[in-house]
């Protein structure tokens, strides 16, 4: 799930269901549960960390996050929730990844691989 706009986890996502509630976002109404969330950075509340942790507690968290530039709110949230997070990759993920693509995120190696449905089996490494 790709958002070109920054996300705010406290006020932009329903922690119980994982559904995006912020009407400013393209993905409003969709759930982040099980998705690789790709977005530029976090804005808004510094309590977003607890919201990410809450998503995981409720079993509706994203499976991974890929940020252009992570920040403390998302980094600590992912650490608490046990969600892999990768940022500062060489190519801008917002220009390479599209919503609907299948993505493999390896936070230990710091690698993001895209396997686009539209292009069949071709995979691109970021």
């Amino acid at each position: 799930m790709v958002s070109k706009k920054p996300l705010s986890f406290l006020e932009g996502v329903n922690v119980e269901t994982g559904v995006i509630t912020d009407p400013e976002l393209e993905a409003v109404g969709e759930t982040v549960s099980g998705k690789v969330l790709v977005f530029p950075w976090c804005r808004g509340s510094t309590v977003g960390t607890y919201a990410i942790y809450g998503l995981a507690s409720n079993g509706v968290a994203p499976s991974a996050m890929v940020c252009v530039e992570a920040d403390i709110v998302s980094a600590v949230g992912c650490a608490m929730a046990g969600i892999p997070l990768v940022h500062r990759v060489e190519r801008n993920p917002l220009t390479v990844i599209r919503s609907g693509d299948y993505v493999v995120v390896d936070a230990d190696r710091g690698v993001v691989e895209v396997m686009s449905r539209r292009l069949g089996k071709r995979s691109r490494r970021l």
Partner: protein
């Protein structure tokens, strides 16, 4: 990076697993953000205190941490709770919420975090000197600390601010580096800007344009501390701004703001037409309580007006008779909480009137629009709508 003896011992478990986890968090952040090293902090300010915003999972996290005998090593204060700790019944807060909220505050207190219960720690005794490094969460307080106090802090989250309070360190990256604190945009504001509503709208507009940069807003050099407080809150809400400047700057992109841009922000964030007047996002200063009292006693008050402030300011205002004067005018003054992090819907509040763009933004999003908000100037808020 691991140059402190205390830190080495902490990582080895010498002070228990809670302290070890805090130390590991700080080091993990340092690594994730490729920090130059660690810097000692003078104080911390912890967000994530309201049960409304951190929920059962947040309460669990804090209780587990506090069970391990963890204590803070530097001065630390906490953000507002979801209720006035003494007058929650009067606010209409449910009993179950009150019990869980009390547990959260107790947890943090056990760890040594002072129950300032405010987003304005700088008005409650936590006022770092210019040039000092701190670890503050609460986005509006971060902007105020960096821009008005001249302290150096990143936009911490609740747990990382707490981890910094426990270890005494924060990773040296971002706003702890001189080069990251230079203005990235020049904001040219047409027309006059005055009062909390307009400064709040200015912040909100600029924050959205600038994202994560450091805007320079020379127009704000004539603003009062309370107007700067409102400006900072607006900036911190719509974007990821951690700091603004008022010094002129060249060779950076320019942003022009017109009076109609600010009016559009106010219209965009207003979803209702009336309701409970709530002032205090950020928490009101003593000066602001006095000004509201002057307005209220001169013009009278129509309908319910609730003011929110820190216990520190409240105590001073009681000493001066200001709270008593406000109450005689029919205005209620609550401490420890605000209209954003209290459970408005459970309290039976459906409509809010305020002068804070931050409050309008959060209330609408957090209630899914079920609570309406209308933005008015502070004076209009206090005087009330003539047609009601």
């Amino acid at each position: 990076m691991r140059s402190s003896k205390w830190l080495e011992e902490a990582l080895g478990g010498a002070y228990g697993s809670g302290v070890r986890k805090a130390a590991e968090m700080i080091l993990a952040l340092a690594e994730a953000f490729e920090a130059e090293g660690l810097v000692p902090v003078r104080s911390a300010h912890v967000s994530g205190v309201s049960y409304r915003t951190i929920g059962d999972y947040g309460l669990r996290f804090l209780e587990e941490l506090s069970k391990e005998g963890v204590r803070v090593r530097v001065e630390a204060t906490m953000n507002p709770a979801g209720m006035d700790l003494a007058r929650w019944r009067e606010m209409g807060v449910p009993e179950e919420f009150a019990q869980k909220q009390t547990r959260i505050v107790e947890c943090l207190r056990r760890m040594g975090v002072k129950p300032a219960l405010t987003c304005t720690p700088y008005l409650a005794g936590n006022r770092p000197e210019r040039g000092s490094h701190v670890a503050w969460a609460e986005s509006s307080a971060v902007v105020y600390a960096n821009s008005v106090l001249g302290a150096w802090t990143n936009r911490e989250c609740g747990p990382s601010a707490l981890a910094s309070a426990i270890t005494g360190f924060t990773p040296k990256f971002g706003m702890h580096l001189e080069e990251e604190r230079r203005p990235t945009h020049l904001v040219e504001v047409e027309g006059r800007v005055e009062g909390t509503l307009m400064y709040s709208a200015l912040g909100y507009y600029v924050g959205r344009e600038v994202g994560r940069g450091v805007p320079s807003i020379p127009k704000a050099s004539g603003a009062s501390q309370d107007e700067l407080k409102a400006l900072g809150a607006g900036l911190a809400t719509s974007g990821g701004v951690a700091m603004f400047s008022t010094k002129p700057v060249e060779d950076v992109p320019r942003i022009r703001v017109s009076p109609s841009d600010l009016r559009e922000v106010v219209e965009e964030l207003s979803t209702g037409s009336g309701g409970l007047v709530c002032l205090g996002c950020p928490h009101l200063s003593l000066q602001e309580l006095e000004t509201v009292y002057e307005l209220a006693s001169k013009h009278g008050v129509r309908g319910e007006v609730w003011l929110f402030t820190s216990r520190s300011v409240y105590e001073e205002a009681v000493r001066l008779g200001v709270v008593q004067g406000l109450e005689r005018c029919g205005v209620r003054v609550f401490r420890d909480t605000c209209m954003v992090v209290s459970p408005l819907e459970d309290m039976g509040v459906r409509e809010v009137v305020t002068d804070s763009c931050k409050a309008a933004h959060y209330i609408t999003l957090m209630t899914g629009g079920r609570v309406s908000v209308v933005l008015k100037s502070r004076e209009e808020c206090v005087r009330g709508d003539e047609s009601r």
